[in-house]
Symmetry: C2
Subunit: 386 residues, 2 copies
């Protein structure tokens, strides 16, 4: 009884629809999505395709035996070995031909999960959607590029009557996009969104700028962050602010008055890069790290200025709906502000100001990066489909 | 194009299903639900019934003309006048007979929205669910009472293949229940939930205990809270901790290992009442407020003790999954803790500790009471149905 109750309580679907799932991208997030999908123990999700950038597994009847056939838990499925041994080359066009056939019988649905950050995969969303295939992804590219492209994708979903879900593109598993959609869909007026959207930037400034005198140099904080795997291999890919600009684009486009505000996507966002001009174009991450200490004095000066005012530095994203300002910038906040007091590690924090919430915003905070929580964002979208 | 895009982006349903909506309870929350429902401008929701505790409006074809018939926006519908003038008496049994007929044609669904806090309405959920009617509600009664009753209701929903959604029972419009469900459904292990769950208790202790010397007396804070309408007419109904115990019951029952932990519901929660024993049973709220200053010294002593330790007092709810502890209690937190630094007004804050989120919890914060945000929680559930 408890089990049944749990099923009903958790809203695990009661419908007999079968969802055929194709997973593209088997890196850290992809592997975790596969793990969570296996653990889900819901027979209405059937993994039919698995693709790395090199090879592909495909079986319309499911890559693993249906749960109902195996009463005892099987040994964990060694998909890595199977994928490595596959003779089938990775081929998105093949999936685009084969997947639609799986939905020809009634109550059969097909979902593409794109765990890559590839532009090439994103460019095929519209084609998959037009074929009646749902798309779920943590890949920001399609949502933060040119507006025309974005609208083409939305139109494709709309006309085919399928969903395109991207909760994990902002705040990973944190319920940021779904909450913003709920606020807007139920008629609230969003006035401002302000937050620390990059786990990497969060870590760097939580360590670098505490509001107290002293502390490590900027370059040493970036070096340690890189060693811990918190940055991209080339730290400039975090320090350029593009990740934050992409997330702001994704959120802005959900707000009615801003849905057409960024014609060139993230490139239309006013973005402050923290890359010293002299290091622009340095191709090697190692060289970048080696030369970064030359600029420590500049960052230290900013930190000192902040301390004198009782402030800390935080790299934030701001969407000010009233003024239409959308910017990714290094800002100062009082040491008593939640961006100073409540953050730690590589936390994200997102404050949503609305008419209903009045002077005190709705706040969502927690790890905004990492494979397990990103995969959770993907999986929660998958559960929403059913 | 932008409009269509928004529709797809917001996930406003693409299905041609019609949802017949029956609204029971037209107090502050109910009125706001009706307002938000009217503003939703989604033709697939059709308001067919509206009931106060006295009278009822019912029209299977919809109480207002379908949007498609009226190209120009009509004057706001004066439902209050219409309901007051209705000759039909409030009659839940009538709804239980009539509503099921609306779903006899294909793709017709029926939803009961219960905006009351009535036990009598809650006692009929199982009957409505068995008839294939979805139930959406901010009413905590059915979810925080006896376990047998709760399981009967879940079974009814499960067998009829309909949903029972109660996002607004905890944290009003804050995405607490949906997030907890997502965490669990995707396989995360919840280890602890800790939070300020009562807007009233939040206001009282944010004002009373700031960590600094001095400040207003406990009784004066409660008096002002009552004058501002933040408390129930009888403040003892907030100070007894039952509201927090009910919310903890609702959350605990979503956690697999605790789903049967509270056989008597909120009465099984270890709850500290802040009502001085001498004032137990004082029937009048006015008398209660008049006599409360007699106990200021006791509360002041607690506040002083906290200050000496560098702490503040907060009335919190804790669900410790590992130890199985579920308690509503007055606790001390360091002045640097988010419960001390980040809260203001009548904010709720909920920290969810899980295996995936590790040492730093997922945090959700914002207004946890009020008609507009409570109605939003109801409306977001309604949108989830479609």
């Amino acid at each position: 009884m408890a089990t049944k109750s749990m099923v009903a309580t958790l809203g695990i679907p009661l419908t007999p629809k079968t969802f055929h799932v194709a997973v593209v991208g088997v890196g850290l997030v992809g592997a975790e999505v596969i793990r969570q999908l296996q653990a889900l123990d819901a027979i209405h999700f059937r993994l039919v395709a698995l693709s790395s950038s090199k090879s592909l597994l495909f079986n319309p009847d499911g890559l693993t035996p249906p749960r109902s056939y195996s009463q005892i838990p099987a040994a964990p499925w060694n998909w890595k070995a199977e994928l490595a041994a596959s003779k089938r080359k990775a081929d998105l066009q093949f999936l685009l031909r084969e997947l639609p056939e799986l939905r020809e019988r009634p109550r059969q649905e097909v979902v593409l999960i794109d765990n890559t950050s590839s532009l090439k995969v994103a460019e095929l969303y519209a084609s998959f959607l037009r074929e009646g295939i749902h798309v779920v992804t943590p890949n920001k590219k399609a949502f933060s590029g040119d507006l025309d492209w974005y609208e083409e994708i939305l139109e494709a979903a709309l006309h085919a009557g399928v969903r395109l879900l991207n909760e994990a593109t902002v705040g990973a598993g944190l319920p940021v996009i779904s909450t913003l959609k709920d606020l807007i869909a139920t008629g609230d007026q969003v006035t401002k969104i302000e937050g620390v959207f990059s786990g990497t930037m969060s870590y760097i400034f939580n360590e670098f700028s505490t509001g107290r005198e002293g502390g490590p140099s900027f370059s040493s904080v970036v070096r340690v962050a890189r060693e811990k795997g918190y940055t991209e291999p080339h730290p400039a890919d975090d320090l350029n602010g593009v990740d934050v600009a992409r997330k702001l684009t994704i959120l802005s486009r959900l707000i009615p008055s801003l849905c057409s505000a960024l014609p060139a996507g993230y490139e239309s966002v006013s973005t402050r890069s923290l890359i010293p001009p002299e290091l622009e174009g340095v191709a090697s991450g190692d060289e970048f790290i080696r030369r970064l200490p030359d600029f420590d004095a500049q960052f230290d000066k900013l930190r000192q200025e902040a301390i004198r005012e009782g402030h800390v530095l935080r790299y934030v994203g701001v969407v000010d709906v009233e003024t239409g300002t959308i910017k990714a910038d290094l800002e100062k906040y009082p040491v008593t502000h939640p961006f100073a007091t409540a953050l730690g590690g590589s936390d994200n924090i997102i404050m949503i100001h609305t008419a209903r919430y009045g002077a005190r915003p709705l706040v969502i905070q927690g790890a905004g990066a990492g494979a397990a929580v990103t995969a959770m964002g993907v999986m929660s979208d998958l559960l929403k489909l059913s």
